[in-house]
Point group: C2
Chain length 397, copies 2
Amino acid sequence: MLTEKFWRSYRCVVSGTVGVHALVRRAHEERVLSLLRDRGALSRAQIATRVGLSRTTLSEITGELLARGAIVVVNTDAQARAGSGRPAELLALDPHSGQFMGVDLGHNRVRVAVADASHEIIARGVSSYAAETPWADRLAAAFALIERMGRESGVTYLALQGVGVGLAGPQPAGSAQSGIVSDAFSRRFAAPVLVDNNTRFAALAEAIAGGDDVRDVLYVRLSDGIGGGLVVGGRLVAGRFGVAGEFGHITADRSGDVCRCGKRGCLETVASVPAVLRACRLATIEDLSAALANGDSTAITTIERVATAVGRVLADAALILNPEQIVIGGRLVRAAPGIVARAGAIVEAELVPAGGDRPRIRAARLGDDDGALGAIAALFKPSPLLAGYPEAAGSMQ
Amino acid sequence: MLTEKFWRSYRCVVSGTVGVHALVRRAHEERVLSLLRDRGALSRAQIATRVGLSRTTLSEITGELLARGAIVVVNTDAQARAGSGRPAELLALDPHSGQFMGVDLGHNRVRVAVADASHEIIARGVSSYAAETPWADRLAAAFALIERMGRESGVTYLALQGVGVGLAGPQPAGSAQSGIVSDAFSRRFAAPVLVDNNTRFAALAEAIAGGDDVRDVLYVRLSDGIGGGLVVGGRLVAGRFGVAGEFGHITADRSGDVCRCGKRGCLETVASVPAVLRACRLATIEDLSAALANGDSTAITTIERVATAVGRVLADAALILNPEQIVIGGRLVRAAPGIVARAGAIVEAELVPAGGDRPRIRAARLGDDDGALGAIAALFKPSPLLAGYPEAAGSMQ
C-alpha cells in the first residue's frame, strides 16, 4: 500500500490548502533536487551557492529532504570543510528513492515503468482498456496501475523526480490533450511532468539501446498506427510544432485507400497492423504469424508489398537525413520479422549508388515498454540526446 | 597587390622551411585569436589564464598579433590592473582585419565573399570556368579571384580567421576531394578551413536570413543539380556520413528517366534546370523565362509538373521533420518563381489535415552567393546554428 506520508503529501497538493510558504519551499526543494540530479554529489556550501539560498534556508530544505529520504549523505569531502572546521558532508539523490516514472498511455493500454536514480528499472506494469475509453478513465486506469505497482514492489513514489508521459498521436506543443494529462499527473504526484508523443519516446529509447555513440537514428513503428521518431545530431527531434516523425502519413500509394487522416494511400493504409490483416483477410496478428509460418502466399505477398512501401519511405527519409541507424519496430515487425531485411534491401537500392557509408537497418531491440522507457530517458536531463529539448512542465505552476 | 608581408607569411607556410618554433607559435596565435573571436575583448591576464600560457610567452604572441594588425587594444579596464598597477589593456580582434572568407566552388564558377569580424561583407567576386575543369585549375581560378579581390578592395587577408569552402555534390566526411581543397586553402592562407557541401552552406545562410528565431528549416535548391540542406532544432545537419540533404535523388517518378546517379526518376531528372529545358525543348534558362512570360503552354505545363513533384518531396520531408520554414531556391526558381506557390499548395495538401500549425513555404531570399555567405556563417562559431557542428580543420595539422 502507498504510505500514509505519500497520501499526506498528495492530498496537500491536490486539496488546494497548501500555503504560499509551502509552495516556496517546494520550489526550493525542486531546485536542490534538480541540481543534485544534474551534478551528482555536492556539499551544502556548493548547493547553497548554486541555488542562491542562505545557509540557514538551505539547511531547512536539506533537512526535510534527508528526513523524507529523497537525498542521502554519500561521503565526506576532506578537502572541503564546513564552517565549523569539520569535513563537509556531500549530499546526493538517494538512488533508492529518487525515482523517475515513464508512462505510455496508448490507444488501448497503459504501460508504466519506474527507474531509480541509477537508471535501474525497479517496477513495471501494464493495464488494458477498451480503445474508445475516455481520457478521464484512461488516467484512472493509469493511476490504479501505478498504485498496484507500488503495493507489489514496495516503491513509495515519495521522491519521484519526474514523470514522462507518452501519448498516442501527434502532440503539438501546448495541445489541450497534453495539458489535461500533464495537469493530472503533476497534481497527483507533485513532480515535474513531461508529455510527448509515445512513439517519439520509443525512438529515444531505441537510440539509447542502439549504442552510446549513435547520434543519428530514424525509428518507425508499425503497429495499430504508424509513427516514428528521429534522433538527429545526437538530439531527439520534436519539430517546430511538436509533430515531427509522421511517417505514417507519407503517401505510399497515390491510388490507395482513404486514410483516417482524410488523405489517400498513406503508409498507414498499407503497413499498419489493421491494413495488413485486412489485406490478408485475417482476424488477429497471431493469425498473421501462423499464416507466414505456414507459407501462406497471400500473407507472404502482402508482407513483401508492405516491406517495399516501408523501405521506400525510409529511403527518402535516409536521403534527407543520412542516419547511422534505421530501426523498424512495432507489433507488425514482431509478427513478420522478415520485413526488416526486405525493407533494408529497398533502402539500400534507393540510396545514391555512390553515396558512401550506408545506414544500418535493424529491428527494434526493446519490447512493448519502449515508450515508457523512453519517457524515463527523457527525464534524465544530462542525456546529450535531450540537450535543448523542451523542459518538463513544473508541478507548481 | 597583396602585400609583401602576406606573401612572406604565405611562402613561409607553403615552402616547408617553417621551423618547429614557428609552428608552435602559430598554434599559440590560433588559440589566442580563437579565444578573442569567441569571447570578445579580454585582458592579457585573462587570455594567459585561459590559453594556459605564461605571461612572457603571451606577451610575445600578442606583440606579434598587434604588430600584424590582427588584434587591437580596444579599451583599458580600470577594474583590472596589470602587474605594474596601471590599468590592464583589453585586447580584441581588429574588426577591420579579422576576416572570414567564404568560397563556393561550384561546377562552373567560383564565388568568394569576405566578411570582417563584425560580419560585414567587405569584398565579393565571381569567376567562371568550364564545367569539366579539373580541381587544380578550379583552385587556381579561386586563388586568382581572391588575389584580384584583394587588389580591388584593399583587403590584405593578413588576419584571416578562417576559410569556409563549399563544394558541389555530397561531401562525405573525410572525402579525398574535401581533403585536397582543405589542404590547398590551409596551405595558401595558414588559416583554419571548413569544407562542406555548398548547398548545405546555402541552407545555413537562408536559415539565418529567415530570422533569428527560425530553428527548423528545409532548404532545397533547383539549379543544374538539386541539393538541399536542413536546420533542425536550431542546428545545421550534416548527417552521420556528411551527406544529409540529398533531395535531388529522392524518387519523383518510378517510371522516369535514368538519373546520372544510376537510379530512375530521381527529382533531379524532373526538376533540375537541364531536365526542365529538355522537357520544354529550350536551350537556356532565359528562354524558359521568356516562354513563361509569353504563356507558352508546354513551359507552363512543365513547370506545374515540376512544382508538383517538388511539393510532394518537400511534403514527405515536412511530415518527417515538421519544419517552420521551407525555402525553395536556385536558378530554376528565379526563372519560374511560380514554382514556390504551387509547390507550397501541394505541401499544404499533403500534410496531415488536422496536423496543427503549418510550415511557411517561401522563395530563397539570397542570390547566387548564398553558398559563400553560408560558408562564412559556418565559421562564426558562436552561432547557435552550428553548436555541435564539425570543427574546422586546423591549418597546422
